[in-house]
Subunit: 157 residues, 4 copies
């Protein structure tokens, strides 16, 4: 993320040592630099080392021809939440591959919440599980992401 003015403003010596504070700072900087998550209307509900929870309201422009939430937007919510979880230790990390299974449709106005948990992290690669539920707690989709750590940091590079 080198060259982004907002991240450049946070120098490495100023990074918090507390893992929870670092996760929160990383999430804030990531979100401020992430036009897609902003345009999707995502809200960060929770972040911690290896974890993230984000929510999204299903808008009319997210509906497909069945008048249910387009799978791409359910995926985008899960994928962003996965990204926030796997970058939460401030080591720049990208997705290498993902799988999603759809369980129930989302409708206009639904508030979907994605919960990402780190299942495994070894060397440069990790596996994360993300569960997407609606406002009634009904399971909408389940997503698994494989992460790959690249060079650099989210904040402080």
């Amino acid at each position: 993320m080198a060259g982004q003015s907002s991240s450049a403003a946070v120098a490495a010596p100023d990074l918090p040592e507390n893992p929870q504070e670092l996760a929160e700072l990383t999430a804030k900087v990531m979100f401020d630099n992430d036009p897609a998550s902003q345009a999707l209307g995502l809200a960060i509900e929770h972040v911690a080392p290896g974890e993230a929870r984000m929510s999204m309201t299903v808008r009319r422009d997210m509906l497909n021809g069945h008048q249910t939430c387009h799978g791409g937007f359910i995926f985008a919510l899960a994928d962003s939440t996965f990204a926030f979880a796997c970058n939460s230790r401030n080591a720049a990390t990208v997705a290498s591959g993902c799988t999603i299974d759809y369980l129930a449709p989302g409708y206009e106005g639904d508030i979907l919440t994605a919960d990402a948990k780190e299942y495994s992290l070894a060397g440069r690669t990790g596996v994360y599980d993300v569960q997407v539920t609606n406002q009634d707690g009904k399971r909408i989709a389940i997503f698994r992401g494989r992460s790959y750590r690249i060079k650099g940091q989210v904040v402080g590079d």
Copy 2:
């Protein structure tokens, strides 16, 4: 898709018998009823029985914190193209699960093209492969979708 005025206007007796004409009519009706594909700026480049090709220009509001195209939007392009391919025979069909592997990043202004081909169709279930390339022919992602045919038709129900 029952109850949608635009599709209700096309009565079953008027459906074309020619598979290619039916695929084109189905795609047109689907797209007209698909706010998400419209909002993503997708363009239908080609449709045929079991096939579809769609393109999308990567906009600034599709960028993630790495300033590359958010995986959710690459997925959404692939997923829509998959949907147009698997509904191309006018039998209402939904996705049951999908897998995506990212191969190279997309950048702002890139024109991404997704090509969906039917790999297998047996009974109610099918498998489709979607390849996403950029304007230079570089492979950006590969997607596999499993489809499940539900009751009803896209056009004429």
Copy 3:
């Protein structure tokens, strides 16, 4: 499973009504009719409605060229355990697709245990998660299976 003498011997009127007893009977009949699970040396550790746990000792003839357990055998253990979980209510069910992520190698003599849990079951389709660990509790692989219920019963058809 029609036509198999061992299952034909258990008539429908004799099936236990208690779900746990039915799960145990189903597992027993399945295993007795499953040459592959027998040849792999699988042992059923636990079965309950929507759940199964099976173990396998890594033999020399399961090693690949890296002298670690061939991924196909780790997969086979997970896949069998998934099958026992998704057939545990005595409704004949098959796998439609599966994903596996390898986390750590297995070695000759390791005792691998697979734990399958039903994540979702709706209509004819289900999603199951299977975790494979070794004798030290180390995670070896994670597997996700999608099931599809077909006609018939495991026992009593």
Copy 4:
């Protein structure tokens, strides 16, 4: 593969420069050191840089409770073929994750053939597609594997 006597016998200076000859040598050494592929009765039909084709006859001890080929053995055939393809340039490579979709059952006595092709190779990671067909050319399964190159060589280390 360090420390294996059969591979140690082939010194680096003796490695063929021709990619096809190197692929054939690598496959031979891998197979000689792979008890699992031998025990499965796999036969190498073809190998080339980034490609492999292997066959397997479905034996009685590969049948599941439905008296069809256990998914684990179809997977093992695909997975071995993937391994031979992704190691064909003699750079030691392992699987990080795989997906399989079952299309039709295999029966006792069927000769299943797996064809692996390299779809993408960039840096340390690759994506391979493997198609499994039976003796009548019927598609039995489709498999996608992600590879990760580790240190070392198959032959000559």
